[in-house]
Symmetry: C2
Subunit: 358 residues, 2 copies
């Protein structure tokens, strides 16, 4: 099977090798830069991202499996498969979010690559928050709050720390074990900031920037009802990604400039589902491309409604493929059957028979 017709399979060991060569900070910087560039140059006539769809269920555990497609016109198609199973860490020692990424040649429909999407989802979600925060929060922000201290909180902290030098990180989680292990889990990042466990109300009061990344149940939100905050508080609302799953109270959204990653999706499953459409002035693409007009929002309370956009996954996939090619990583495997005679699925039978005769 020649390289140009087979499938590049990148295991997580390959991604680890990329990180070993490039460094985790540089990879995050690349991802932030590439996602910001993709937001800036986004053109709906060249890149199509239909709303994701999927299956959700209550049994045997609460769960959701979705497919997130992206069409790069006359170029390629990406498909992300992503599962959200909040019982995974406790029941199966697996991440809440498991994912894989594939892409397809638009000339032939052939599968070009398959790779992990679990790690990349965590990274790109952090990177997307970093991009949005750069435009929506004050540049001298010193205090970060994290509500929800699971896997996504690590990359929120990492990505935001690439843009801001935090003095203090205030953290909260409903699960004591998750809360207590957070500082230990962050050690590999070598950050200077002091990490302090505290209450949601203290986080709201003291933070310049907050990321919420919780597994709050459908219909059980918001995470808080009353709040006192700094007048310029920016929140990255990361956890809301399902109908009736919300993290922030309507009253906070009403007083704030709310910017979704991807409007159509956010009205169905983001914080934006609480708001009438006419209250959303811009999505992240509109905001970034009209930054002079919206400079004032850095002084006000703001929300980045991050539902997770296939464009971010596409960018992270491309970045990994670029490095895999640079370092000659991965294996070329034969997933789809490609008979020598394209009109004969049983071609190999003939070959077998000839082999038997010889």
């Amino acid at each position: 099977m020649s390289k140009n017709q087979s499938t590049l399979f990148l295991s997580f060991d390959d991604i680890k090798e990329i990180i070993h060569q490039v460094g985790i900070d540089q990879l995050m910087d690349d991802m932030i830069f590439d996602i910001e560039s993709a937001f800036k140059s986004y053109d709906i006539t060249k890149t199509t991202t239909p709303k994701r769809s999927g299956f959700n269920y209550e049994k045997p555990y609460v769960g959701l499996l979705e497919w997130m497609p992206l069409l790069k016109v006359e170029d390629e198609i990406m498909l992300k498969i992503v599962g959200y199973h909040p019982e995974n860490p406790n029941q199966h020692n697996l991440p809440t979010i498991l994912s894989s990424l594939t892409n397809y040649d638009i000339n032939t429909g052939r599968l070009k690559s398959i790779m992990d999407g679990t790690f990349l989802t965590a990274m790109r979600t952090g990177a997307a928050s970093a991009v949005a925060t750069k435009y929506m929060a004050l540049s001298d922000s010193k205090t970060l709050g994290l509500i929800g201290c699971g896997a996504q909180a690590i990359t929120q902290l990492h990505a935001l720390s690439r843009i801001y030098t935090f003095e203090s990180v205030l953290v909260y989680d409903t699960d004591n074990e998750t809360l207590n292990s957070f500082e230990e889990r962050c050690k590999a990042l070598d950050l200077e900031a002091k990490i302090t466990k505290t209450s949601i109300s203290s986080i709201l009061e003291q933070s310049d920037i907050i990321s919420t990344a919780t597994s709050i149940g459908v219909g059980e939100g918001p995470l808080f009802n009353t709040f006192e905050t700094k007048p310029w508080l920016h929140i990255n609302a990361v956890g809301s990604d399902f109908p009736n799953k919300i993290e922030l109270p309507l009253s906070f959204l009403k007083q704030s400039f709310v910017c979704p990653d991807y409007k159509e999706q956010a009205f169905i499953e983001g914080e934006c589902q609480q708001l009438p459409e006419n209250e959303i002035k811009e999505d992240i693409v509109g905001l970034i491309n009209n930054i002079e007009k919206y400079k004032y929002i850095q002084q006000e309370t703001t929300v980045f409604d991050s539902t997770g956009w296939a464009l971010e996954d596409y960018i992270s996939q491309k970045l990994i493929i670029k490095y895999a090619q640079k370092f000659e990583l991965g294996n070329y495997v034969d997933v789809e059957y490609k008979p020598e005679d394209s009109k004969n699925p049983y071609h190999f039978l003939k070959v077998n028979k000839l082999a038997e005769l010889s």
Copy 2:
């Protein structure tokens, strides 16, 4: 990575080895049996198959890439990715249809397996026609017609030959090379029937059973307008799988008992898109489960509107996995990242650092 958390990767070499061990005839018999059983026992409360969706485009070549999901309630999820690129054989020496199949554990969302779907699509499409034909055509049918002699025609002939002993196979294709190579391509099947190249009108006149599997263009159908046929002619209309892509004339559908594989899909992209919903009495599940009531249709002209149902793919996937496990084939690979600490995507960084110290 332990077997129970990693992904079973089956290359086409593994599928070939299954065929080597089981035999292509036995595998087709299994597939026919399993698909018939699945149709018989189909329960919409236990198996959900949303309509497929996808991207279609005209450039650089006419093409379509679709995802076909299936949920087996409280059990697993299958996803078929399938591309349809009719220029593939001539432009790229690749099959028109390229496909891969994956399935996911419903407990955790983890990717359980990945395998070829190209070969299996061809086989299951043949098997589905065989099942439908058994119920819709006369049991002593002797003459088979094939309009369109590409990859799908091979498995139509193979599958139908497992149910019927044909004396004569009449074939037609618009492409002379495809037509002329057909007999050679069928040799591995060791069939007794005489294969004769002829016109569409002769095929219509003389056949007891016809399968149409063409790449006729959108808006360019039907394949014929006038027809004289045996009063009991049964047609498997395999090629119609896209809005405005049709193979059969409305007048033939109007006089015939038309049975789709999957109604909702057939009204959008099958022959059924030409008919009002109330003219469809039964789908294949209804037909098979009320066979006494519909015995009479074997004497009439009938059409199996085969758009390709995810249920058939799921059955073929399960069959291959069963044999792969029996013969201990395939490799367990690590697609999704599963950190030892499920709440720390950067867990490996810590491990790396400890390794560097030692």
